[in-house]
Symmetry: none
Subunit: 162 residues, 2 copies
DNA sequence: CCTTCTATCTTTAGGAA
DNA sequence: GTTCCTAAAGATAGAAG
């Protein structure tokens, strides 16, 4: 078995997906280990257009700071409103159905970014965390986190079964 | 050399620092590899009280520049304009038909994104998710997430290091 | 698709200089 | 602290079921 891979985009679809799945798992494990061994804080977020949801570690709150960085870029804020509406996307999809041509790489990147925008919108990351007024939405958030946790667990436990 | 380590806080200062340094480096390398191999977006932040600055991958500037660059890709802008000029599109229909296979795949993936939106809608994440007291929630949720993560990993790994 | 196997490559703990 | 070393542990590509 020749197992060494060149550090470059894996064009074979099946191979890339398999590698992604294995490596994302490995990455999260490494994060868990380093934070435990050294008692530090860390977070990571991975967007993959072929994943229905981003892989996050350890929680949404944990990655908010990362996403907040994105919102500080003026270009993002401007394009955000333009791209993140579902109706707009549906319209685009219809037209894609008829006529649109794009190169696959460009397409992959667009979807990834749309996914990002959508999550930014859903999570409603403030543009400046310092001005956030801390109300008492703790319970609501906690419930949502539990839902998400359960979803994540379901998804992983179902295909692990050891 | 007995090299197996218990997955727990390393109390010895020198050992912990050495491990941190090595593992942070390894983590960033893994991130670089997965994003290259799969052409996805990812980022991570590691906060260590003994480090003056958090370790960030890639640089915030790096992430921003990549995404900003995409938004300004000439092809992207051109295609957007194309959508608004029917005559131009008709002119291109013949050529587009040659790319039917790509179109179908692209369309399939777009629909997947719309499905994702629907899935997110069911989560019903409140608009004001961000108005949350980080000090109260982050620790609790992160700990819960880590517990879940650890359990998931334990289930999946033959080697037990507890 | 998903799992399991395993050869092979990579990471890293602990020393040593 | 830093860098190099190396054995052991860990991650994973590819194949097979």
């Amino acid at each position: 078995m020749g197992k060494k891979v060149k550090l470059a985009f894996i064009t074979r679809d099946t191979a890339r997906k398999a590698t992604y799945k294995k490596r994302v798992k490995g990455l999260m494990k490494k994060l868990n280990e380093i934070t435990t061994l050294c008692e530090i804080k860390a977070c990571a977020i991975v967007f993959n257009p072929e994943d229905l949801e981003p892989q996050i570690w350890p929680s949404i709150q944990g990655v908010q700071s990362v996403l907040t960085q994105f919102l500080h870029v003026p270009e993002f804020v401007r394009h955000r409103k333009m791209l993140n509406h579902e109706s707009y996307l549906k319209e685009k999809t219809q037209k894609l159905n008829e006529k649109l041509k794009k190169q696959m790489k460009e397409n992959r990147e667009m979807k990834m970014i749309l996914q990002m925008y959508h999550y930014l919108e859903k999570w409603n990351i403030p543009e400046d965390l310092s001005i956030v007024d801390h109300n008492d939405l703790t319970c609501v958030i906690d419930e949502k986190m539990k839902e998400i946790n359960m979803k994540m667990m379901e998804m992983d436990i179902n295909d692990q079964r050891v």
